[in-house]
């Protein structure tokens, strides 16, 4: 459960057993071909995997590079979140749990959790900050449509970090029947690496797809946005043993790797935005999904090892990237995903580079935000 000196399991004694139980169940399930087959089947029939690898022909021509887009935006519910959530829900079912507990920020993970719960006939309790509930009323309704209970969180900044705290508090009281369904490569062990394993389907598919698409089989660059960092972790997992340069792109206002310092939050030791007194500060990004003041511990480790590089882009660059991708490729990417595109658009890559960009989600949810800004 450690990535160098990061990771770990910083949870109350009351949750140690539950985390262990999840870890043991996951180890056992992940080694069981039946479980993996069942999950792969669901990802194929329900989610639409494999998602395509789209050559961004017009944008490539403009940049003089070869850009390949891994299309998680086409996954059921609109982002990569579902890969992980189906895995955890299937595991919960296998463990005999009857409920899922989850936190959500903008609502994407909450919708994915509610979706998986509906599919398996599990209950779902989703904690969501009151401010996010106001901003994302449609996602709240969607979760309720799917049968989930959405609990407003009125503490702190009333956003994602507070919802996460509240969800963990709640879990303590319901560990017997409920499984915590974590939305990113965060939280206590085994979550960071379990979520990465559930998301590695992105990287594994992309690796195979690149092999048929690129002469060199492996791209020069593999680029993904990083909030907590689950789509990046999943993507990188497929390329960590190749010469591809791995680039995680953070929001300038929510850059755990770039601006954070070592700390412990929500069960894991990692890099978090905090003031000089060790109080966690709020992240600010146009992309709600990157609005978390930390980053997954494995990313810190990959950076410390020099295996991955973490960069930031500004909100303005992100808006420009969304618009440009829409006009050249007919794809409206999520603001989160557009961070990866924005970094590539900076033009710092050598001409002729081959670049894999994970489009973690679709931009439908962001249209009204963009409309106000553009």
């Amino acid at each position: 459960g450690r990535f160098g000196e990061h990771g770990g399991r910083y949870v109350p004694e009351s949750l140690v057993g539950a985390c262990r139980e999840v870890e043991e169940a996951f180890r056992e399930a992940w080694a069981d071909p039946a479980f993996r087959g069942q999950l792969a089947g669901l990802l194929a029939t329900h989610v639409g995997r494999p998602t395509p690898l789209t050559p961004a022909l017009r944008l490539s021509a403009e940049l003089g590079s070869t850009l390949l887009l891994k299309r998680e935006d086409l996954a059921h519910t609109g982002s990569h979140k579902i890969n992980n959530v189906l895995g955890q829900a299937l595991l919960a079912k296998r463990m005999g749990k009857t409920r899922l507990v989850a936190e959500t920020g903008a609502g994407q993970h909450g919708v994915a959790t509610a979706t998986a719960a509906a599919l398996f006939g599990l209950g779902a309790t989703v904690f969501m900050g009151e401010r996010d509930i106001e901003r994302q009323a449609l996602n709240v309704f969607r979760m309720r449509m799917l049968g989930a209970e959405v609990v407003p969180v009125r503490t702190g900044s009333r956003t994602l970090k507070d919802a996460t705290s509240e969800a963990m508090r709640h879990w303590v009281g319901v560990v017997d029947e409920a499984m915590y369904c974590m939305g990113s490569v965060l939280g206590p062990s085994p979550y960071p690496w379990m979520v990465r394993e559930f998301q590695r389907v992105i990287g594994d598919e992309a690796r195979r797809q690149c092999a048929t698409e690129l002469r060199a089989a492996v791209p020069d660059y593999v680029v993904a946005c990083v909030g907590g960092g689950s789509n990046a972790a999943g993507t990188f997992a497929g390329f960590v043993d190749t010469p591809a340069r791995l680039i995680g792109v953070e929001a300038a206002g929510g850059a755990g790797a770039a601006d954070g310092t070592s700390g412990v939050l929500h069960g894991t030791r990692s890099m978090f935005l905090q003031d000089e007194n060790g109080q966690v500060t709020e992240a600010h990004s146009i992309a709600a999904g990157l609005d978390y003041p930390g980053i997954g511990p494995e990313h810190v480790h990959l950076r410390d090892l020099g295996r991955a590089r973490y960069v930031t882009v500004s909100d303005a660059e992100v808006i420009e990237a969304v618009m440009r991708l829409a006009r050249t490729e007919g794809i409206v990417a999520a603001l989160e995903s557009a961070h990866a595109v924005a970094w590539v658009l900076r033009g710092e890559l050598p001409a002729g580079s081959t670049v894999l960009i994970t489009l973690s989600g679709r931009g439908d949810k962001d249209i009204s935000t963009l409309r106000e800004l553009v």
Binding site: V172, V264, H266, Q274, V280
Partner: protein, 234 residues
């Protein structure tokens, strides 16, 4: 062991004195952290009030009074694992430390750092902790063992739950340290019940609720006195 959130009011230190005067054997002082993941509504509120008043680790420690009763700090791992934390704690006169999100497996380093400054890192035990692990906690804890009486967060509850009694009963033979029962204890009756199975109780949310509602040191000292009395009488 009554609890006060450091920095919650300008005169928070007076509450520490009042606890001591009321006969508390230990006093717990919360060092506010912005993400009180394990606290219930009352202590979350107290934490938010303290932080909004500009409370910092440095400031709270500087204002911590010496009152003749051993002081126990409680905070989260994010603060406790900062470099120099134990030095500063020792300077401020603390002899005990509770870090509720630092379970057994993650505690060794901090426990050693604390010990070398004369501070005992008390570990927590929970109703779902198995016996062998309870024994390990009992061995590795310092000062006392903090027995979490319920599966949940801090906060007042109406009765002392059966799990609390069972946990205390399982812990007692597995540690040489005193066992303090915490989470949810607010009435003299509960305190009395707790005293029958444990060596002491932690009264946190019940104190802070009164404090946030405007009760001064004297009034809260009287409440703590009532709790103490109930325990002795039990």
């Amino acid at each position: 062991m009554p609890y006060v959130t450091g920095g919650v009011t300008a005169d928070w230190a007076s509450y520490v004195h009042a606890f001591a005067d009321a006969g508390a054997g230990l006093v717990e002082i919360g060092l506010p952290f912005s993400e009180p993941t394990l606290d219930g509504a009352t202590i979350q509120e107290a934490t938010a009030v303290a932080l909004s008043r500009g409370a910092t680790l440095r400031g709270v420690l500087a204002a911590t009074p010496r009152c003749g009763v051993p002081l126990v700090a409680s905070t989260y791992a994010n603060l406790a694992l900062r470099p120099g934390f134990c030095d500063r704690l020792a300077e401020a006169g603390f002899t005990g430390l509770i870090v509720p999100d630092l379970p057994l497996e993650e505690s060794a380093e901090l426990s050693e750092a604390a010990r070398s400054r004369g501070i005992g890192l008390a570990l927590l035990a929970s109703p779902v902790t198995p016996d062998d692990r309870l024994a390990e906690i009992g061995r590795r804890s310092r000062g006392f063992v903090y027995a979490v009486s319920v599966m949940g967060t801090t906060g007042e509850r109406t009765t002392l739950a059966a799990p609390a009694r069972e946990l205390a009963a399982r812990l007692a033979p597995r540690t040489e340290l005193p066992v303090l029962l915490g989470f949810g204890i607010s009435t003299p009756a509960q305190a009395a019940a707790a005293a029958r199975v444990a060596d002491g109780v932690v009264v946190g949310a019940a104190v802070m609720r009164r404090l946030l509602d405007g009760a001064g040191p004297a009034e809260i000292g009287a409440y703590v006195g009532t709790m103490r009395e109930a325990m002795s009488g039990g």
